[in-house]
């Protein structure tokens, strides 16, 4: 019952970083929810995002706050007349809430992206999609970052 995965095919790939210990990281000034709101407004041009169409997938609890996998997918036909122009990811508890922005064209075929982000404490991660007609959609999820050490 051996599975062939990319890992078994590419033997000896780099292992992931070891987990942080009990000690907390020194904390810089965190972005406020106001700062995150400003970043949202800057991306949307002040438009209030609607729900639906965009799905943000992230773990409920991070296994490693230094590298949290997040995936965004936007439901769109991706035609010249109707496509996703860009998607931005924000983390409202990071020193700088803007994490990444992905740009798409109809040639992209699908509006989906996966990346890993660093979260040093429990916070909301938000994804906002800007469509070719100017409408905006958002989804968000709270990702918990535990200090570990005594879970059982």
């Amino acid at each position: 019952m051996t599975r062939i995965t990319r890992r078994t095919l590419l033997s000896g790939t780099a292992s992931l970083a070891a987990i942080a210990g009990l000690g907390l990281l020194a904390r810089p000034a965190w972005a406020s929810t106001e700062a995150a709101q400003e970043a949202v407004d800057a991306f949307t041009g002040g438009k209030k995002p609607e729900t639906g169409k965009i799905t943000l997938t992230a773990p409920e609890i991070a296994e490693n706050g230094n590298s949290v996998p997040v995936t965004v997918e936007v439901d769109s036909p991706m035609t010249e007349g109707d496509y996703v122009a860009s998607v931005t990811i924000l983390a409202d508890g990071n020193p700088n809430p803007e994490v990444a922005t992905f740009h798409f064209t109809p040639m992209s075929g699908a509006a989906a992206a996966t990346t890993r982000i660093r979260l040093a404490k429990t916070q909301n991660v938000m994804a906002i999609a800007k469509m070719s007609d100017g409408s905006v959609y958002s989804d968000q999820k709270e990702v918990k970052v535990t200090i570990g050490g005594c879970g059982g």
Binding site: M1, T2, R3, T5, R6, R7, T13, A14, S15, L16, A18, I19, G21, L22, L24, T57, P59, E60, I61, E63, N64, P69, T114, T122, K144, T146, I147, G148, G149, C150, G151, G152
Partner: protein
């Protein structure tokens, strides 16, 4: 075949629950009759397929004592709902006679007295008898046996053999599939090696390659039995790399990943499944939430949180089963399956009374064989206990009081921390404590008893963090353990509040002084998930403590005050 316990005046309730009448009480077959193997196992020929479920055996090959929790608080939407009902309330809810065999099996009420009357429960050879009988009655091809995991860890022999003792015995039982949690604490290589040698699939729809984010385990399997197609989706413990050391399994990432479960349910239906079963190690509250969010699952065989419920819990069209732990129970579901649908079911939580159910001779011989090299060591007496030693409960238990006392004394610490594990068997008052008993409470692959300095503020953060794993109002954020046990320090806790405001009144017990947030304290603990943890194994610490203090006297522990 039967011992003195044949004379028991009551029979164990045999729940006979149909799919439509799940709110009924746990009905007794008959009052005032002797308990026999037939009472426990005799079955009607309802339906066309039988599903058997065991979970969280924690490497208990032999019958054990296991006291269910006296405190098991539910928060948010599930406050006061099973499994968050204990003691006398549990007896009342399910209409169980105090002092009866089912009261002994399912609650903490009068546990010490009833343990001497009703004896040990479980034993894989008794479970083998139940499985063999079901297969004989229904026909081999009409039975599916599923193992919910936490099978390979929890005893001296399992730890010595990296689970090989359990694997050898479980293979005799011939499960059709399993999933896991503590299995992963043997590390990537051992899990891969063991998994590949299994004659049945180890399923984990939520185990992914950490780097490539692609499935690392088979997610589900279709079984054609009894003229029906039954899809079984496996779900490993979602927070294994957080609650247990990630460095032991760096290649794997977990998580609830409900979208994966939903995807597999759809795929199974498209492949013609008449019934979809989730073999889960999510924990009961997580599964109750998942059942409401992922449509199309007929049955969730829950695990991880060690709950034993005599009736199914129904969420929409999904039936949730809680089969207990440590081999105390086996769940039997007789299913009436039509084309493309589960029409009806009968459920029985079978209590494995070891003096009533005859051991299967083949399994007994295998258990003796795997234990033989260690028997002398296992039986070695290292102390005595004057009172009941038990672990389960949200805040403390006497086993962890003993462990914390040992840590404080042997590691010369001001404060001791012992993780809120839910495994660990019980030991009646007046018993010798053997090496086997001690290891049943602490056998693991990362046992180092550390000694370090921690600020008062860090201690508070640790307590808040663990409390949120237990009492977060959203079950998807719960990790399914109990609260970390604390020696030398008392505190107050309000489970209904949010992280950061649950813990109060942290106090050094010896002096009555409040904890100083800015001061450093000497803290001893064990089972840290950090790779570089140093210290002697916890069992050496407790054994040394018992050498100096050979008779342990458990005391009432009032160091945690629950507020709400």
């Amino acid at each position: 075949m039967f011992s003195r316990r044949e004379f028991l005046a009551a029979t164990v309730a045999l729940a006979s629950i149909t799919g439509s009448g799940l709110s009924g009480r746990w009905s007794r077959a008959a009052a005032q009759q002797r308990m026999t193997e037939d009472d426990l196992l005799g079955a009607s020929d309802f339906g066309n397929l039988t599903l058997l479920h065991v979970t969280d055996i924690h490497a208990q090959l032999k019958p054990v004592y296991f006291r269910e929790p006296a405190v098991n608080i539910g928060v948010g939407a599930v406050a006061g709902l099973p499994p968050h009902v204990t003691g006398a309330d549990f007896l009342k809810l399910y209409d169980i006679e105090p002092g009866s065999p089912e009261a002994y099996a399912l609650t903490s009420e009068d546990f010490g007295a009833l343990a001497s009357q009703y004896g040990r429960m479980g034993g894989l050879d008794r479970i083998a008898t139940i499985v063999r009988r079901a297969r004989a009655e229904r026909g081999d091809g009409n039975v599916i046996l599923l193992d919910g995991g936490d099978t390979w860890q929890g005893s001296f022999t399992a730890n010595e053999t990296a689970g090989a003792d359990m694997i050898a015995c479980m293979n005799l039982l011939k499960p059709d599939a399993m999933t896991g949690h503590w299995e992963f604490t043997y590390g990537t290589d051992r899990v891969n090696e063991a998994k590949e040698a299994l004659p049945f699939p180890f399923l984990g729809s939520n185990v992914f390659d950490a780097e490539w984010d692609e499935p690392a385990f088979d997610a589900w399997q279709m079984f054609e039995r009894g003229g029906s197609r039954v899809a079984v989706i496996g779900q490993a413990f979602p927070y294994t790399p957080i609650a247990n050391p990630r460095w032991l399994i760096p290649d794997w990432s977990f998580g609830i990943r409900e979208e994966e479960v939903a995807r597999h349910v759809e795929a199974a239906r498209e492949a013609g499944a008449d019934v979809v079963v989730l073999l889960s190690h999510n924990g009961f509250d997580v599964d109750r939430a998942l059942a409401a969010r992922v449509p199309g699952i007929d049955i969730i065989l829950t695990g991880h949180t060690h709950d034993a419920l005599p009736e199914p819990v129904k969420v929409g069209k999904t039936v949730l089963i809680a089969s207990g732990s440590n081999g105390k129970f086996l769940s039997r579901l007789d299913l009436d399956i039509g084309k493309g649908e589960l029409k009806d079911l009968r459920y029985r939580l079978i209590p494995v009374f070891s003096d009533v159910i005859a051991p299967d001779t083949e399994m007994s011989a295998k258990i003796d064989e795997v234990r033989a090299p260690y028997e002398a060591k296992l039986a070695q007496v290292i102390g005595q206990t004057e009172g009941l030693l038990y672990r389960r409960g949200n805040f403390n238990g006497t086993w962890d009081d003993l462990i914390c006392d040992a840590l404080l004394a042997e590691r010369d610490a001001e404060i001791a921390l012992s993780p809120g594990f839910r495994w660990g068997t019980s030991l009646p008052a007046g018993s010798d404590i053997t090496v086997e008993d001690l290891h049943n409470a602490c056998a693991m692959t990362y046992p180092a008893a550390y000694r370090s300095k921690m600020s008062g503020d860090m201690l508070r953060l640790v307590l808040e963090d663990v409390a949120d794993n237990l009492f977060n109002a959203d079950p998807y954020y719960q990790q399914g353990g109990d609260m970390v046990r604390v020696g030398g320090m008392g505190f107050g806790i309000d489970p209904t509040r949010e992280i950061g405001s649950r813990i109060s009144d942290m106090t050094i017990l010896k002096t009555g002084e409040p904890i100083d947030i800015a001061r450093d304290y000497v803290v001893a603990g064990w089972a840290s998930v950090n790779e570089d943890t140093e210290g002697p194994p916890i069992w050496d610490v407790v054994e040394n403590y018992l050498k100096a203090n050979p008779v342990y006297t458990p005391r009432e522990n009032r160091s945690v005050t629950v507020k709400s």
